[in-house]
C-alpha cells in the first residue's frame, strides 16, 4: 500500500515535466465531454419544455383520428357541446374550457432571414383563466375583437419584429404586438396568441376551432369528463390529459438527438482513449529507466500499474471537468428552436446543462482515462528490468 502511494505521488508530481503530451490527453478528453454534454443538453432542454407543459387537471379535446392540435378540427357547435361536459371547473359565469385555433405564421428569426413556422394560437377569453400560470410580463393583454397579439417570451427573443408596439405584416393581414407573456417555461412561450374570432376570419376557418383545453375540477374528474365526451353520439372526439399530450410529442426528437449524441460521443471516446494510450505510453517510455530502477529496488508490479492508471485517470478527470465547465459556460441557457414534426411548427427551448449531465461527462472521462491507462500500465509492469535499465 505504501508502495502504491509513493509511486503514484511520484508520478503525479512529475506530470508537469511531460506537459505537452499530458495536455494532448486532457484536451482530447475535454473535447469528447464538451460534445457529449452539449448535444445531450439539447435533448434535455427540449424535453424540459414539453414535459413541463400542462398540469394533470387539464384535458385537451381533439377530433377523433387527429394526431395533434394542428390536424384537429372542431365545429363551433361541437365546442358548445364540449363545454357542457361534466367535470369542468367553473368560476362564476365562466366555464373553464377554451376553444382554440392552432395555425402557423411564417416569420424570420432575428438571426436568419428565412421563414420559420411559428405557432399562432387563437384563443377566447377563457384561455388565460384555464392556464393559471399565464401572466403578462411586458405591455398588456390583447383586446378581443381586434388584430392585436401577445407573444411568448421565447418567441419574443427568437423572432424578428415581435417587439411590443410594432406592427407585423403577414400576407394581407396586419397584426399589432401589444404584450409579452410567460407561462412558467411551457411550450406556449414559443407561441403568438391572438383572438380566436379574428383568426377564424383571417385564416378563413368560418365558425370552427381545432381544440378545446379544459380545466377540470380535479385531476380525478378526468375519467368522467372523457367518458361523457367519447360516448356522446353528437361528437367524434378524443380526450387526453394535457401532460400526456405534450410528453408524447417530445419522444421522437429526444430519441433522435440521444441516438446521434451518444453515437458521436462513443466514436469520439474511442479516439480519445487511443489518444490517452499514446500519452501514457509516452509517459511510461520516457520513464522506463526510473520504473525499472523502482522495480529493481523492490517495488512490486501492482504498485506500478496503479500509479500509471491513477495518472491517466487524474488527467482524464481534469479533462472531464474542463469539458463540462466549457460546455456549461458556452451553451447553458442558449435559446433556440426546432421544428416539431407532429405539429409542423417551431418549439422554442433552451439548452439545459443539468448536474446529471455534468456527472455523466465526468464519469465518461474517468472511463476513458481508465481504458487509456490500462495497456501502458501493464506494459510498464512487464518491462524487463535489465533491458529497461540499459535503454536510451
Amino acid at each position: 500500500m505504501k508502495q502504491i502511494i509513493a509511486v503514484t505521488l511520484l508520478n503525479l508530481r512529475t506530470i508537469p515535466q511531460r506537459l505537452a503530451s499530458s495536455a494532448v490527453a486532457i484536451v482530447g478528453i475535454a473535447g469528447v465531454v464538451v460534445v457529449l454534454v452539449a448535444v445531450l443538453s439539447i435533448a434535455e432542454g427540449f424535453q424540459a419544455v414539453l414535459q413541463g407543459t400542462g398540469t394533470p387537471d387539464r384535458a385537451i379535446v381533439m377530433r377523433g383520428g387527429a394526431d395533434s392540435e394542428m390536424t384537429s378540427g372542431l365545429g363551433g357547435p361541437d365546442v358548445d357541446v364540449i363545454r357542457q361536459a361534466p367535470g369542468i371547473a367553473r368560476d362564476g359565469q365562466m366555464t373553464m374550457a377554451s376553444g382554440e385555433l392552432y395555425v402557423i405564421i411564417d416569420m424570420p428569426k432575428r438571426t436568419s432571414d428565412t421563414p420559420f413556422n411559428v405557432p399562432l394560437r387563437g384563443v377566447g377569453p377563457e384561455a388565460t383563466a384555464v392556464r393559471q400560470e399565464f401572466r403578462i410580463v411586458e405591455g398588456r393583454m390583447f383586446e378581443f375583437g381586434t388584430n392585436e397579439i401577445v407573444v411568448g417570451r421565447g418567441a419574443a427573443v427568437l423572432y424578428a419584429g415581435l417587439d411590443v408596439g410594432t406592427e407585423l405584416r403577414s400576407g394581407q393581414d396586419t397584426w399589432r404586438v401589444v404584450g409579452v407573456f410567460e407561462t412558467d417555461g411551457s411550450v406556449a412561450e414559443g407561441e403568438i396568441w391572438c383572438d380566436a374570432r379574428t383568426l377564424q376570419s383571417v385564416y378563413r376557418r368560418g365558425n370552427s376551432y381545432q381544440t378545446v383545453l379544459a380545466r377540470l375540477t380535479s385531476p380525478a374528474s378526468f375519467d368522467e369528463f372523457r367518458d361523457w365526451l367519447t360516448t356522446n353520439p353528437q361528437l367524434d372526439v378524443q380526450v387526453r390529459r394535457e401532460t400526456e399530450y405534450y410528453a408524447a410529442q417530445s419522444r421522437t426528437l429526444t430519441t433522435l438527438v440521444r441516438i446521434i449524441g451518444f453515437g458521436i460521443a462513443a466514436l469520439m471516446s474511442l479516439g480519445a482513449i487511443f489518444g490517452a494510450i499514446l500519452t501514457m505510453y509516452t509517459a511510461v517510455a520516457s520513464r522506463a529507466r526510473e520504473i525499472a530502477t523502482l522495480r529493481a529496488l523492490g517495488f512490486n508490479a501492482p504498485a506500478v500499474i496503479v500509479s500509471v492508471l491513477t495518472e491517466s485517470m487524474a488527467l482524464a478527470a481534469i479533462g472531464g471537468a474542463l469539458g463540462g465547465l466549457a460546455a456549461y459556460a458556452a451553451f447553458n441557457g442558449y435559446q433556440t428552436s426546432t421544428i416539431n414534426f407532429q405539429t409542423f411548427s417551431q418549439v422554442a427551448f433552451a439548452f439545459r446543462i443539468t448536474g446529471r449531465l455534468l456527472v455523466l461527462g465526468l464519469v465518461a472521462a474517468l472511463v476513458m482515462g481508465f481504458f487509456g491507462g490500462l495497456l501502458p500500465a501493464i506494459r510498464a509492469a512487464r518491462l524487463p528490468i535489465v533491458a529497461a535499465l540499459r535503454e536510451l
Partner: protein, 384 residues
Amino acid sequence: MRFLPLIWKNAWRRPFRTTFTLLVIFVSFLLFGVLMTIRTAFTLGVELAGQDRLVIIHKVSLIQPLPVSYKDRLTVVPGVEDVTHNSWFGGVYQDPSNFFAQIAVEPEPFLGIYTEYRLPADQMKAWLADRQGAIVGRDLAERFNWSIGDRVPIQGTIWRPRSGTGNTWEFNIVGIYDGEPGVDRSQLFFRYDYLDENRTFGQGLVGWYIVRIADPSRSAELAAAFDGMFANSSAETKTTTEKGFVESFAKQIGDIGAIMVAILVLVLFNMLLVVTDVMSYSVTERTSELAVYKAVGFTNVGVLAMVLVESVSIVVLGGGLGLLVAWLFVQGGDPTGGMLPAWVLPQRDVLLGVVLMAMLGILAGSLPAMAAMRLRITDALRRN
C-alpha cells in the same frame, strides 16, 4: 522513391506507438465521414433539388391551401414549361411512429417534372387506370414489406373520407419508384382526384404548386411575376426556387450543419495535436540517426521531406481506412430506420476528406520536420 522503404522502417520503429497513432487518425476520419453524412441528411438532399423548379406556397404559411384554379393561370405564363400541384395528406399507417410522407399528386405532370423518380411504364399505366392507386419508394416498400397489388389502409389525420369507416383511406400499391442514391425513396404518392372527390371538406384546394421553367436564370423574374399575378387576391403567394425552399425548410430543424462542422473541427484539432506530439517525440528520439543521415550526405531539404512524407503517409493511411469504413457504414443505410432519407456520403465530402488528410499530415509534420532540418550535425552527434 528509393527512400520509401527507409521511411516505412522509420514509421514502424515503435510499432505500439504507430498502431495507436493510426487508430486515432482512423477514428477521426471515420467520424468525419459519419458527421458529413448526418449533415447532408439534415439538409434534406438540397443538392438534388432541381434548379429549374419553382415552388409556390401561400404567403402566410405552407399550411394555408391555394385554389386549384391557379394552375390554368400559371400554365399560360411565357417561360413556364410545366405546372403541377401537391397536397400533404399527413396520414398514419398503423402507428404514429411509422411516419412517412404521403402526398397527393397529379401522376403525369408530377413524374414529368420530377424526373429523378423512375417508374416503369407499365406501372405508370396501372396508376393512371386505378383511381385508388398509389406508388411508393423502394425504401418504403422494403420497410413495410409491401409489393405491387397490396392494399394499404392509412388513417387520415386531416382528411376523412366521405364513405368507408371512420378515418381510413385505402390505397392500392400499383408501382414502386426508384432513383439514384440520395433520392428520397421513402414517400407514398397517390392521386389528387381520389383525395379531392372523397374528402368531406376542402374541395378545390391544393397544398403547393411546382412550376418547371425553361430557363433557370430567369427564376427570380418569374417568381416575382407569379406573386404579382395573385397579389391582392384572397390567397397571395410566395414563390421560391425549390433549392431555396428545401434550404429554408432544413433551417427550421436547426443548424445541424453548423453543429456537425463544430464537432468536426474539435475532432480534427485533437487529432492534429496527437499526431504532432507523436511526430516530435519520434524526431527527438532519433536525433542522432538524423545527424548520421546528414553526415552521409542527405541534404537539409531531403531530411525535411523524409519527415513530412512519413507524417503525411501515416495520416493518409489511417484516414483513408477511416473514410472507407465510414463509406461502408453509410452504404448500410439510414440507422434511424427511415427518419433520414437523404443518407449518403457525398463525393464532394470524400474529396474534402482526402485534401484534409494531406493538409493535416503536412501540418502535423512541419514543426518536427523543421527541427530535423535545422539540426546541426556536430551538435546532434554530441548530444548523446
